[in-house]
């Protein structure tokens, strides 16, 4: 059952992605991008990544859609008609894609519990986190403690983006603030 849902969802996502890529109306594209994110959030749930799904729903379907719409309202709604097909880009994409597909041929099968990923580092988190950290959500344990430093980096990334946006656009909101 899940497999079928899996396949259906993925196919739908591909269709959506193509549509987003080809669509001239940027508002529509942004909305459909939100749906795309939402579908991927469902995918994440199916793949047992509930935290990721939650975040993707909040960020992909929420924040980025709002930001995209905001940007479009400040700039333009319509994409210009593209006359020529970009052969070079297509070539690059095809080469990259074939390389990736080629790479999958030796990959462990999807869901294989004996794949290397499950054997080496992660097993310890699952086995010992209860004793070492005593928090049911292993993702939180890993996120905030085992790999807490990555998360510090992540907060810094967000901080950087915030500073960047304020630097690039913020002087206007501060000016209003002073009035």
């Amino acid at each position: 059952m899940t497999e079928i849902l899996d396949i259906v969802l993925l196919s739908f996502m591909i269709v959506l992605a193509v549509a987003v890529s080809r669509m001239q109306n940027l508002f529509m594209a942004a909305m459909m991008m939100g749906i795309f994110s939402f579908l991927s959030a469902i995918m994440f749930t199916l793949l047992d990544a509930v935290d990721v799904a939650f975040t993707e729903a909040a960020v992909g379907a929420g924040v980025s859609t709002v930001l995209l719409l905001g940007t479009l309202s400040l700039t333009t709604h319509e994409e210009k008609v593209v006359k020529k097909n970009n052969a070079l880009a297509l070539l690059v994409v095809l080469i990259t894609g074939s390389a990736l597909i080629y790479g999958t041929l030796d990959m462990p099968q999807f869901g294989d519990p004996n794949a290397p990923v499950h054997q080496h580092v992660a097993d310890r988190y699952i086995e010992k986190s209860e004793k070492e950290i005593d928090i049911p959500n292993i993702v939180t344990s890993v996120l905030a403690s085992y790999r807490g430093y990555d998360t510090l980096g992540e907060v810094t990334v967000i901080f950087t983006a915030g500073i960047g946006v304020i630097l690039l656009m913020g002087h206007i909101w501060r000016k209003e603030d002073e009035q």
Binding site: L105, V121, A122, S145, Y149, D150, V157, F159, I163
Partner: protein
């Protein structure tokens, strides 16, 4: 106690200082604080290098979780050297920053500017010090996002498009790296570099491993602006504020090259990369073509910052050429050039910055007669330019010497000849600027003063360094040789 925590302090001190800058707000205060932080980092980085040279590899388990379960900082000769380089540049540039930023950035934005500057510094240092593959990506993004912001602050509107272009290319590169890391993780189950290097050999025969390496490499080559993936670099360097250009030119691509070295030599190992995949057969020709194409492009530029940016692409070719030789001498040449080029390019961009401050332009046509109008600045430009050409007794010569030696060791004298002849192109593009500045009369007689003393201090410290390290090569070459030995797994 401090001694034990040196690796983490090196990153956390600037990282914590960035938000503190936001809280401080007052612009001179923020500048003073940021300078203090950079100098402190320089101190820590020097202590770290000394300790590494004495004791060998230093490992630091963040959060107390030992690798591979936690994130490890792992410092050896190579990254200690890169860390020192980045902190030297960051600290020296702070003198230049005060007048230059005051001139180019609106006063209300100063504290945020320094915040972004410190973040960029943190990111670069974080990339260089970490022993965890995914952590590289996180800090790569810190440095990238802050560089996009810093570049976009240039006065020309083209700074915005340059920044955008860089953002797209940079993110693509980073995503490629993430794909590469993901596939590596998929095959080994670990993210720790040292652990990866032990577990990857079992996977060398799989197609997935090859693809993982390919993606990682392409991503890194984009980030380090290897020809023909360099298109983002000239615009970014050209339109960014002077300080940013100098800082990025001296550090960002260098750190990316370090990442390349780390992944190819330490994680994957020279045997897989160069004997099985024959990456050198691809790297050497590409480097040479890159050197020539970029140098020729530099010759035809009418904007000096852009000219120097193209020259950077060419110089990256030299570094990659040295790496492509896969020998102690070649790697020594590459690593020494990494250090040397940082010094000279920073010095060059600083002298351009001084001129821009007074002239308001880096167009070649506006530089007529600058030799008389700003003799001190132009003198620094000429000296650093000579270094770029590779004139003896400057750092440029030292790196060139090792590169040529490496080519000859392999018996590839045509490559040696090509590399040498390419430096003539550097003669041409440097000389074009010199000719305009010294041999043409200024269009107007308006008085142009020399740049403020603060800017000249930075400029001359770096120019002096290009001369000093061109004569006193013990430190740089020894460290580079040890690093090369480490990368190839032989003790010299």
């Amino acid at each position: 106690m401090i001694d034990m925590h040196l690796p983490i302090l090196l990153i956390v001190v600037p990282l914590v200082s960035a938000p503190l800058c936001v809280l401080l707000r007052q612009k001179t205060l923020v500048w003073a604080f940021a300078s203090l932080v950079c100098v402190a980092s320089l101190g820590i980085a020097s202590m770290l290098l000394i300790r590494v040279l004495e004791e060998g590899v230093i490992s630091y388990a963040i959060g107390g979780w030992i690798a591979p379960w936690g994130i490890e900082y792992r410092v050896d000769t190579i990254n200690a050297f890169v860390l020192l380089l980045v902190s030297i540049i960051a600290a020296v540039l702070m003198f230049f920053a005060l007048p230059s930023v005051a001139d180019e950035i609106s006063g209300k934005q100063h504290y945020l500017f320094y915040t972004a500057y410190l973040l960029c510094f943190t990111g670069l240092m974080g990339i260089a010090i970490t022993g965890d593959a995914f952590n590289v990506f996180v800090f790569l993004e810190i440095s990238s996002l802050s560089s996009y912001t810093l570049i976009a602050l240039g006065r020309d509107r083209r700074a915005l498009t340059a920044s955008y272009q860089y953002l797209i290319m940079g993110t693509l590169g980073a995503t490629f790296i993430v794909i590469g890391i993901g596939l590596m993780y998929m095959m080994t189950g670990t993210l720790n570099m040292f652990d990866l290097s032990e577990r990857l050999p079992a996977m060398f025969e799989t197609r997935t491993a090859m693809v993982a390496f390919a993606f990682l490499t392409v991503g890194m080559l984009i980030k380090l602006a290897m020809f023909p993936m360099h298109m983002w670099l000239p615009n970014a360097y050209c339109y960014a504020p002077s300080l940013v250009t100098a800082f990025l030119a001296a550090t960002a691509t260098k750190v990316s090259i370090y990442v390349f070295l780390r992944f190819t030599f330490t994680v994957w190992g020279a045997e897989f990369v160069f004997e099985k995949l024959k990456l050198d057969a691809f790297l050497i020709p590409l480097s040479l073509i890159g050197i020539y194409v970029a140098s020729l492009s530099a010759i035809y530029q009418t904007n000096i910052k852009r000219l120097l940016a193209y020259s950077s692409v060419a110089q990256i070719g030299y570094m990659m050429l040295g790496i492509g030789f896969v020998s102690i001498t070649g790697l020594t040449g590459g690593i020494v050039h990494l250090f040397n080029h940082a010094l000279m390019k920073a010095a060059l961009f600083l002298s351009v910055g001084c001129a821009v401050l007074r002239l308001g332009s880096s167009d070649l046509a506006d530089w007529k007669g600058l030799g008389r109008r700003m003799p001190v600045t132009m003198a620094a430009f000429v000296l650093a330019g000579l270094s770029l050409i590779g004139v003896p007794l400057t750092v440029g010569f030292v790196s060139k010497w090792y590169l040529i030696l490496a080519a000859l060791e392999k018996g590839w004298w045509p490559i040696a000849l090509l590399a040498l002849l390419s430096s003539l192109l550097a003669v041409i593009y440097v000389w074009r600027v010199v000719e305009v500045a010294y041999f043409q009369k200024a269009d107007d007689d308006s008085n142009v003063k020399e740049a403020p003393l603060m800017m000249q201090i930075s400029m001359w410290v770096l120019t002096g360094a290009t001369l000093y390290f061109g004569i006193q090569t013990d430190l740089t070459v020894n460290v580079a040789q040890r690093a090369a030995g480490l990368l190839l797994g032989v003790t010299p």
